[in-house]
């Protein structure tokens, strides 16, 4: 029951993040690359201010899957590493936390480019 509840919350929260993005696409001249930069940076800032963790506690993947969640991950990593390792931690913490996502994107991206060919759009 509580898994179902979590699922619904994840669905709705994730949907809301996307709706905001869609509004930005429709109403402003921002390209998708710029919107994504905005999202990731917003995630970093909200994470640093402690405002993002409550969203994750509430909606789980609904807050971690959108790109803001990636920003939160980077911020959390940098802040925690700064506390334990000082200035060096500030530099390494973010990238270390995001390493899984970045490596996966690079690796699978390269593989896909080797295996697949781009197709004509309909």
């Amino acid at each position: 029951m509580d898994m179902l509840m979590m699922g619904i919350k994840a669905f709705v929260m994730g949907g809301l993040f996307c709706v905001i993005g869609q509004m930005l696409i429709l109403k402003t001249k921002l390209t998708s690359a710029r919107i994504l930069v905005g999202y990731v940076t917003a995630g970093v800032i909200l994470g640093a201010l402690g405002l993002y963790k409550p969203l994750i506690d509430f909606a789980g993947a609904g807050a971690t899957v959108p790109l803001t969640g990636f920003g939160y991950l980077l911020a959390k990593g940098a802040m925690e590493a700064a506390k334990t390792d000082g200035i060096l931690g500030a530099f390494t913490g973010g990238v270390v936390a995001g390493a899984g996502g970045i490596s996966a994107a690079v690796f699978f991206g390269y593989l896909a480019a080797l295996i697949f060919k781009p197709r004509m759009k309909e």
Binding site: M6, A10, F11, V12, M13, G14, G15, L16, F17, C18, V19, G21, Q22, L24, I25, L26, S32, R34, I35, L36, V37, V40, T41, V44, I45, G47, A48, G60, A61, G62, V65, P66, L67, F70, G71, L74, A75, A78, M79, A81, A82, I87, A90, F91, G93, G94, G98, G100, I102, A104, A105, F108, G109, Y110, A112, A113, L114, I115, F116, P118
Partner: protein
């Protein structure tokens, strides 16, 4: 000198009036449908992410951070596969931000240019183009995390 300024002003007016004309005659896209589609596709992707996280933490009994990282990697893999198969662009056309905002959109933005520029070789084609669209995300994400880390360090010291 004076007439030069006048010409420029007349040109400015012309540009303004044209912009108004363009806005008046512009076709409007259907907002509500677009928002709904972004909502449900984005929500569905997050729901999938939630299911994956539950699997990793409850079935495989991994810790919270590992489960989250593994979820990201799975979604990235899935998106890369769908992009390679030529399916993700169809999802994107339908859902707009619903497919761009989740981490799957990030993966799609890495795979698409890499596939496209393969004709230019594996080093400068695939290798370099992996980051044409996703590079800014990494740059701004990492830079802002460093700044945040430094601020955290300073506040810790104080």
């Amino acid at each position: 000198m004076g007439s030069e300024k006048q010409v420029s002003q007349a040109q400015q007016d012309k540009i303004q009036r044209y912009k108004q004309l363009v806005d008046r005659l512009s076709p409007k896209s259907d907002m509500v449908t677009g928002l709904w589609r972004a909502f449900w596709v984005g929500g569905a992707i997050c729901l999938l992410g939630q299911a994956l996280t539950e699997f990793f933490s409850r079935v495989l009994l991994w810790g919270a951070t590992s489960a989250a990282t593994a979820t990201s990697i799975c979604l990235i893999f899935l998106s890369a596969l769908l992009t390679g198969l030529g399916v993700y662009d169809k999802i994107g056309k339908y859902a707009g931000a619903g497919s761009i905002v989740p981490i799957t959109g990030f993966s799609n933005s890495v795979v698409a240019p890499a596939m496209e520029f393969r004709r230019e070789g594996l080093v400068m084609g695939v290798g370099a183009k992996l980051f044409t669209l996703s590079g800014p995300v990494l740059v701004y994400g990492i830079c802002s995390s460093i700044i945040v880390g430094l601020i955290a360090f300073v506040m810790e010291v104080l």
